[in-house]
């Protein structure tokens, strides 16, 4: 992987820090009136999500990280790993729990998701922002109460639990925002 000089850095670039892939969140060039210039980089560790601040001399360089995102189809879960397939190469990847993270709550077989690969190895999975899922369990709604804003928990086919309005019934399809875990609307097939 290429190494970058400080003036090639920009937000969104993937770099290696302490051996881990990081995404540059923010950076600034700072310099006293005369003398040594520095670049302060704020970067998020793509493995553990922690943000760190690293200060470089403006003459330093930093190693790039071979990180890219690709769309894959979710195939199945074997109890230990989630299996995804690259729809172009048909190459399959088994992804462990730590990399799948919260996405596990929202994805079902055949869904297309974004998988982030580092040196060809999956390190994170992002579900679509909106998913449509079936409610497998929820208490019966209260008749007539369709606008009061009351809500109740509902379990979805993926196992996630979301709050839904009282009028929503078991077996219905709903649209959920995976970033907030919130119900958006009823949905059709």
């Amino acid at each position: 992987m290429a190494s970058y000089s400080m003036n090639q850095l920009k937000g969104g670039l993937k770099i290696l820090l302490d051996g881990d892939p990081h995404n540059i969140v923010d950076l600034d060039f700072v310099k006293p009136g005369k003398g040594q210039a520095f670049v302060r980089v704020k970067a998020k560790d793509l493995l553990d999500g922690r943000v760190q601040e690293v200060t470089f001399k403006s003459s330093d360089s930093v190693e790039g990280a071979d990180v890219h995102e690709t769309e894959m189809q979710y195939l199945y879960n074997d109890g230990e790993h989630w299996h995804f397939m690259d729809p172009e190469s048909f190459e399959q990847h088994a992804v462990g729990e730590s990399a799948v993270g919260d996405a596990a709550k929202w994805i079902k077989e055949q869904d297309t998701v974004a998988v982030t690969l580092w040196n060809g190895r999956p390190i994170s999975v992002d579900p679509p922002n909106h998913v449509v899922l079936t409610i497998v369990e929820t208490d019966p709604g209260v008749r007539g109460d369709t606008s009061s804003g009351g809500s109740k928990p509902a379990t979805l086919e993926t196992g996630a639990v979301v709050k839904v309005p009282l009028f929503i019934a078991e077996g219905e399809l709903i649209k959920v925002d995976t970033r907030t875990g919130e119900y958006i609307s009823r949905a059709k097939e």
Binding site: V30, G33, K34, F56, D60, P128
Partner: protein, 343 residues
């Protein structure tokens, strides 16, 4: 299946100016006020080339080169050398509002091309020139009703500022103490996350620079201007060096800070041609050791100094930053019509 959307900042089309019409008007007012300020004081406006045969030797400055016919010329990092040749030729007090260029300098307070106000006062020392800088800030920032233009300025020696804001003596404390203070003070700015600093080895000035930009500077010029004077002799650049009351060598150099922004740098100017040549050559040695581009020495400046430049003080002030402060802008882009990513 919904497509993935990433929230992104609303982005103006790249052909449009980055600065608002109000910021551009404020810039014009500040330029007009500055010209009036110097006209009233009998300081002559001059224009010197931005394209010149020699470049700044300072290892921390990178000059942009341009081919002109069969000559390789350099876009000036400041008009200092040319203005000193005018002084040696008997110009008397002079000022210039012009463009300067520094390769690789791009950030919240930097753009590779920027506007410098530089002026020279024969017969002044750095303290007397600091008085005039304060008056200019009053005329410009005071005009814009920013608090820094209204309160009396604070004057601190470099040494006192570090004692007060970093708890160290920048002139006499051992290197380990500077490094320890840097780790303690220049760590994470917010977030409280992990932070790491570069290893600056035994480069004492680099440790001081790190402390300056990440710990000391942001505490300077709060609600008024702070003028910092008497820098370490190792950071003299083109300033005279003398011994202070304790016998420590200090450079007769000053900087001006407003709201944590470094606004100007001035010198009680070195006039000794032999010492000037020695400093240039020392810079070139550092350039060679670090594998930086070698640049031609300004022999015409040295010839002018040999002929005799009057004792004087000079200062360069970043006009874009002055506009930033007057406008209350967070970033230099907000006060430039077309910053470098829009050219």
């Amino acid at each position: 299946m919904a497509s993935r959307s990433r929230s992104s900042r609303p982005c103006r089309p790249a052909w449009r100016p980055a600065a608002s019409p109000e910021a551009l008007r404020l810039r014009a007012e500040l330029l007009a006020t500055t010209r009036r300020f110097f006209a009233e004081r009998g300081v002559l406006e001059v224009e010197t080339p931005t394209l010149a045969g020699a470049a700044a030797t300072d290892p921390h400055l990178a000059s942009l080169a341009a081919r002109c016919g069969d000559r390789l010329l350099y876009l000036q990092t400041s008009p200092e050398y040319a203005m000193k040749r005018l002084l040696a030729a008997g110009s008397g007090p002079i000022y210039q509002l012009g463009r300067a260029f520094r390769d690789g300098e791009s950030g919240r307070r930097h753009n590779p091309e920027f506007t410098l106000l530089e002026w020279y006062r024969p017969g002044f020392d750095h303290h007397r020139l600091m008085d005039e800088v304060e008056e200019l800030l009053g005329a410009t920032l005071g005009l814009a009703q920013r608090p820094a233009g209204r309160l009396p300025a604070e004057r601190l020696s470099y040494r006192e500022a570090f004692r007060r804001h970093a708890g160290i003596d920048p002139l006499t404390d051992p290197l380990e103490r500077l490094a320890a203070a840097a780790l303690e003070l220049a760590g994470p700015s917010e977030s409280g996350g992990r932070a790491s600093l570069p290893d600056l080895g035994d480069d004492r000035d680099a440790w001081l620079d790190l402390l300056m930009v990440f710990a000391v500077q942001e505490r300077l010029g709060r609600g008024r201007a702070t003028l910092l004077y008497d820098y370490p002799a190792s950071q003299a650049a083109l300033a005279r060096v003398r011994r202070d009351e304790d016998g420590t060598r200090v450079a007769e150099r000053f900087e001006v800070f407003v709201e944590g922004v470094e606004l100007a740098n001035g010198f009680h100017e070195l006039t000794d041609a032999v010492e000037q040549r020695r400093r240039f050559e020392h810079d070139l040695e550092i350039r060679r050791a670090r594998g930086l581009p070698e640049v031609p020495l300004d022999e015409r400046l040295l010839a002018a100094l040999e002929e005799g430049m009057p004792a004087c003080a000079g200062v360069a002030l970043g006009v874009d930053r002055l506009v930033m402060l007057a406008a209350g802008a967070e970033s230099i882009d907000q006060v430039m019509a077309f910053p470098v990513d829009r050219v």
